[in-house]
Symmetry: C3
């Protein structure tokens, strides 16, 4: 057995935090253990799966069982520490943001590696980071949070653009990964700390087919 | 014209029952005939389609028109026997469970045949059996039933594991198919008869992005 | 830079109208600018993306950035002309119907070009035209409009069948495109003008797993 790389540790942390978020929201809606697990899994791997289907490759979780195992550990965690989870709120927010940053970088790299242009790669990074949460909200029958609350997907887009910029400037790969991931992290942290959201359109009440 | 095989007859029965379930729920939500048909089709073939997209092959219904024709017959059936459907409840439950069992076996075999490991095959069997009902519930804007009610997807998982076990023991293929399908059937029947569900997590009211 | 073809102009108009419909409905639900843009994009390209995934080819919007740019222009349009949009209602209805007609023809042709039989092509045309609106309604947490209101998807099916008929009669390609597209347009316009819908099943209140 090999020792996991730093990226693998971050991937585990991100998957864990994403799964926890899905499991908790599903529990609040009276889902049973299986339902909660499925929502946790979908939150964690939904974005990567959609990305891989669009890129035309086998979804990552079908190649590496880590994602399903990690979601199972998240389910156990919620069962065991149910009452202490509220006190872990800040930790999970940090983990979730690490996941967002890492998933974005992974998505951007995968698309670029398959020969897609940067603008597709930025979208794939954003889908990897943000689409799982959209699927989660569809399953629990809520309007997706990321379309209404603090900046989330925009952090992925900014991180993806930084990746492209550093890449274009021939910055070292590891440094590019760290800096672009850190930019996602920073934008998201600042957005939540200062309640930064995007403006809304003053919606009419229209019915438009 | 060839005489249909036993498996094809079961496949028809399962598709029919799944489509009926979608059409009836859509009708209860005031969908028109087209909407009801689409929800019926999606219930019947949604799981197999998601499986095939993930496995990287052409969705089965695009190769064999039987699934769409069978869903059309289901629509006719609901139109003709609208008032008698409630009395057919038990029959449809049996048909639905036959479908669940068969779809699971078909999904497991397809994934194994494409060279995926057993744990992926079990998930593919479960997706084939259970994902159509999830899509149906998303379309009619309800929280997916299988995440909250009697054991459903777990029956698929158990059946898939039995398939792997018998396969590993070098049991004859037809016997493996029958036994693992029967285990799905049995678990589901028992779950409904004795109202067996999985426990629920005591959900907090949390908002977690 | 080349001058855009007539088809490309129609494609732009259709994408624009579809995106506008998504953006307006998202705004009415208090989505922020990013959320409104995503719903606009999904309305415009969701159908084509699902079609391409099923056909096993790279989604069109990943090859041609026009669709995302056009949706961005639609977002700007809604921001700038917010109060005048109601007066543009008829124009948008015409644009939306042009989009429906064109998307249907494009979907039918793509499937036929990849060697699929006509019945698959008709469904792919319908998915191209109608599925984006279904995704839109799932995202804004409403029951899909096209399952309950005036004839919409049926117009695509009729147009697809006409395409097959003219093709079979060896009618000239451009004429086939125009006539089948026009049939979609006409059916949809008549359906809205005379409030033509499909009948509904008298739904029972049933719970059917």
């Amino acid at each position: 057995m090999e020792f996991p790389s730093f990226m693998e540790v971050l991937d585990f942390i991100g998957t864990f935090a994403f799964a926890i978020s899905g499991i908790r929201l599903a529990s609040a809606k009276q889902f049973d253990l299986f339902g909660a697990y499925v929502v946790g899994v979908v939150t964690a791997i939904g974005g990567g799966t959609l990305r891989d289907l669009m890129l035309g490759v086998t979804p990552i979780w079908m190649i590496n069982p880590m994602y399903l195992i990690c979601s199972g550990i998240a389910l156990l965690w919620v069962i065991l520490f149910e009452k202490k989870l509220v006190r872990q709120e800040v930790t999970f927010f940090i983990f979730d943001t690490i996941g967002l940053a890492l998933f974005t970088v992974v998505g951007v790299e995968k698309a670029l590696g398959l020969g897609f242009p940067l603008w597709v790669a930025v979208i794939m990074g954003t889908i990897t980071g943000a689409a799982g949460g959209v699927f989660r909200d569809v399953f629990i029958n809520e309007i997706p949070l990321i379309f209404r609350k603090e900046i989330y997907a925009l952090a992925c887009i900014i991180g993806g653009l930084f990746y492209g910029l550093f890449n274009w400037l021939n910055v070292d790969l590891v440094l590019t990964q760290c800096l672009s991931g850190f930019s996602v992290f920073l934008v998201r942290i600042l957005a939540v700390k200062y309640h930064l959201g995007l403006p809304r359109l003053k919606g009419e009440d229209c019915e438009n087919s």
